[in-house]
């Protein structure tokens, strides 16, 4: 399952993701300013990262909308945005 995480609702989103062994977290909008402490594979929407001038931690991978849409069809999606 893909978890879209933005800042204001990050808490409930991240703790839901933490209970899902197949979670993939996608930081989006102001969510790219977060650096969550999670085991799950974590991505950040690339254009949101660029405009904010954020240096991503090495464990967070940039992702574009095309790939994000592929993933959410493959795996399902929960949004906390």
């Amino acid at each position: 399952m893909i978890y879209l995480i933005d800042k204001p609702h990050a808490d409930v989103g991240l703790r839901t993701a933490a209970t899902d062994a197949d979670a993939r977290v996608v930081l989006i909008q102001d969510g790219v300013l977060l650096d969550p402490d999670l085991d799950a594979p974590t991505y950040a929407v690339e254009s949101d990262v660029t405009v904010r001038g954020v240096d991503l931690s090495s464990n967070i991978k940039p992702i574009g909308y095309d790939r994000l849409v592929e993933l959410l069809f493959e795996q399902g999606v929960r949004s906390f945005v």
């Binding site: 909008q29 095309d66 849409v69 592929e70 959410l72 069809f73 999606v77 949004s79 945005v81």
Partner: protein
């Protein structure tokens, strides 16, 4: 039929959600997916015509205004439905304020969308 449903409750100038809704829907349309938007609450302010904002930097959030972006989604085949009660609450005159192809609906349309859609993104 709808494969991707997008529910948008944010307005055009108070959060980035309208733009995220656009980008995700656009990517899905490019993949050949059927996309339906349900605009609820301040989301109904997004496709209002005649928006004009001079400070639109190239590559910035408002490089094209929200209504233009949504007009292009309609042109690309997306279905865009606005909650009629939200439209009325905001004093939006749907006849003159919405471009062709932006529909006014009701919550049963949202219920139908949830029944049909394989995926729903709530923004």
């Amino acid at each position: 039929m709808t494969e991707l449903g997008i529910v948008l409750t944010g307005g055009p100038f108070d959060s980035q959600r309208w733009r995220t809704a656009y980008e995700i829907g656009r990517a899905a349309l490019n993949e050949g997916r059927e996309v339906t938007y349900f605009l609820y609450l301040d989301g109904t302010l997004v496709p209002v015509v005649d928006q004009s904002f001079p400070a639109c930097a190239d590559g910035g959030l408002f490089d094209e205004l929200p209504a233009e972006k949504f007009r292009s989604l309609v042109a690309a085949g997306a279905t865009v439905i606005c909650c009629g009660l939200c439209v009325d609450a905001r004093g939006i005159d749907a006849e003159s304020a919405y471009p062709a192809g932006v529909e006014v609906g009701l919550l049963p349309d949202l219920a139908d969308m949830l029944g049909e859609a394989d995926r729903v993104v709530s923004l």
